[in-house]
Symmetry: C2
């Protein structure tokens, strides 16, 4: 293998695939990045068995001069650091004596020990016949607006994933840790022949959206029995699916409310943030809403530390009063998910789910369960 | 105690003194900040027994309205968070029933449990008759240019401090971890009557320069037997001294050299940075300089990972060649300490100290010990 390649092009590819390199990998070869060079360009692949990322860098004008095709595995950590720190516009990579890699520019020369391509596990990145097309920016929103509600607790693996239900031309995404629920529903541009009900690890989807560029190209979802392949621009991202049945969340959302309030999201967020200062455990700080016509009181107290009361103006369509308690962090994360300045919060009763929605973002629903404080 | 105070003023004071609050403090009252209000203003004090920080917020125009003088200890962590997050321009603080603190603005009210001033340890922040005056910007440079060379190893406590030797109108600062030495000498504007040879914990001085503002006021050093008090603007900063005899470093610096090179600091830093990529232990990566008239080769190798060679142009007054090895991190930190674009590096021999100096910064000397590689 021998090529000369534009530094920025290579660095972008290496940065993306390196997200799939695990430092605590039990299979040493998986700490490497697979370089495969053919006449059309350079394919980079990395995998930690949970996710696999592949980037194709196409030969395009003078960005790449291909001298000898071939392939090699290079230690991911070092090659990324080398390419990042070299100041030159172009970088030469050459394999000599089968497994010796030379990376050089005018004043710098790195000699690395490579690993033969044959030692790399055989990871197939196959396409399905009928991929599901999704607008890439909407896909990014779905992940950002729902993944925070997934659980981090591996004791119930199914709740650590996002549930995608695809039926006809609708994609419904649910995320719950059993204390709250985030739901986003989008309309697809095509009608999908098969129905899908899958669970994808949330942390893998978060990795994917980190390496997505801002292209307006459509994204393709290729769903298989135990894995999903996402194709986007020159990027292939494959994740395992979580097996098991996702809890049915559709009956959780009430449709009749005794009281709706409207509030400015940033203001309400800051009020709850201040109300939750007085705690030694940020994860579990309980805050109480007391709604009194057009005033919202937000209160919290801790026997050892003290207590706090905040008040703010709200719109209230019911002119009723209500007192309800919840975990501050859950409400704050739900508020932050709306791409709007105003939120509508709907209540069924003091021990019933709290529903958040917004006019601008009708397809997003956030549910937070209240906490009994008596 | 009752006052109304401008938020920004209070926040600045609290942010500064809070650096002295230790979360792992064994004396619970030291997790608090002492508020002392008299007719002239508010004094804030915090201490972790190692350092004590006191800030005086002077009543000045409408920044502060003093209603009732008095004093109280408030939990440092909470009061800082509350003041930081309140959106109001002014904040009211009131003590009721002796130990109940109310912090309030138009829409927010916090009730905190306070601690009586009488429970706070009696920390004296006394002044000496003859403080040493130092330009505050020069003082900041001294700390930044030397403290990195101190040891982090508590096994030899004396090396975790900066050695200040004050004699006549000269202040000499030394810092060494026994593998390298940083020395800065400054001229004082006055001649000091007493001589001093003290060792101040480096981490404490780093805390001090973090909270220094950019005022051009002179800074006062008040030296005592086992502590030093630094006065600067409205800030008092007291640190313990490290007892013991600091190693005599004056005979370490050679004065005759066989070879001097001059190089661009940023370029040389980057070359060494790249040469030290191929290591699994960044703390101990050994790099070799090979000087050949006007070319410097920088090499490093690791049996498992590979090897690297960088070359760069230098000025060389000796036209001799030399090969010398050292720990990359030590050389890089020494290079970074110069406020100049060019460094002079002087060599005595392959196993003798390497000396770094710069024309613009004549009072700063960096020494790095070489490593025998054969």
């Amino acid at each position: 293998m021998k090529l000369k390649i534009k530094k920025d092009l290579l660095l972008d590819g290496l940065t993306k695939v390196s997200k799939a390199i695990s430092t605590k990998n039990l299979v040493p070869v998986l700490a490497g990045i697979k370089f495969e060079l053919d006449e059309n360009g350079l394919t980079l692949t990395a995998s930690d068995n949970d996710i696999t990322i592949q980037v194709f860098l196409e030969k395009n004008g003078n960005d790449m001069i291909i001298d000898h095709v071939g392939s090699i595995i290079i230690q991911g950590k070092y090659i990324l650091d080398i390419v990042r720190k070299l100041p030159d516009e172009f970088i030469n990579i050459e394999v000599v004596d089968d497994l010796k890699i030379i990376i050089y520019t005018e004043n710098s020369e790195f000699n690395l020990n490579g690993i033969s391509k044959s030692e790399y596990p055989n990871i197939t990145l196959e396409s399905s016949k009928n991929p599901i097309l999704v607008d890439s920016r909407i896909f990014r929103s779905i992940i950002n607006q729902t993944s925070f509600a997934s659980s981090n607790d591996e004791a119930r693996p199914i709740l650590t994933g996002l549930n995608f239900k695809i039926l006809g031309n609708t994609l419904e995404c649910n995320s719950t840790d059993s204390y709250r629920l985030a739901r986003k529903i989008i309309q697809l541009e095509q009608t999908v022949e098969d129905n899908y009900n899958i669970v994808i690890p949330s942390k893998n989807l978060l990795e994917f959206i980190k390496i997505m560029n801002d292209s307006s190209e459509k994204l393709e979802l290729h769903v298989f029995n135990n894995k999903i392949l996402i194709k986007f621009c020159n990027l292939l991202f494959q994740s395992r699916l979580i097996s098991g049945t996702y809890p049915n969340t559709s009956n959780l959302l009430p449709d009749e409310f005794i009281l709706n309030i409207k509030a400015n999201i940033a203001d309400l967020y800051n009020v709850i943030d201040r109300a939750s200062i007085l705690t030694s455990d940020k994860e579990k700080n309980i805050v109480t809403f007391e709604i009194n016509t057009n005033t919202l009181y937000v209160r919290s107290s801790s026997a050892e530390i003290g207590r706090v009361e905040e008040k703010m103006s709200i719109e209230n369509d019911g002119h009723e009063s209500l007192k309800i308690s919840f975990v501050a962090k859950y409400m704050m994360e739900a508020l932050k998910s709306f791409e709007d300045s105003t939120v509508k919060i709907s209540f069924v009763g003091e021990v019933k789910p709290i529903i958040l929605s917004s006019e601008k973002d009708e397809n997003l629903t956030q549910l937070v369960l209240p906490i009994r404080t008596y």
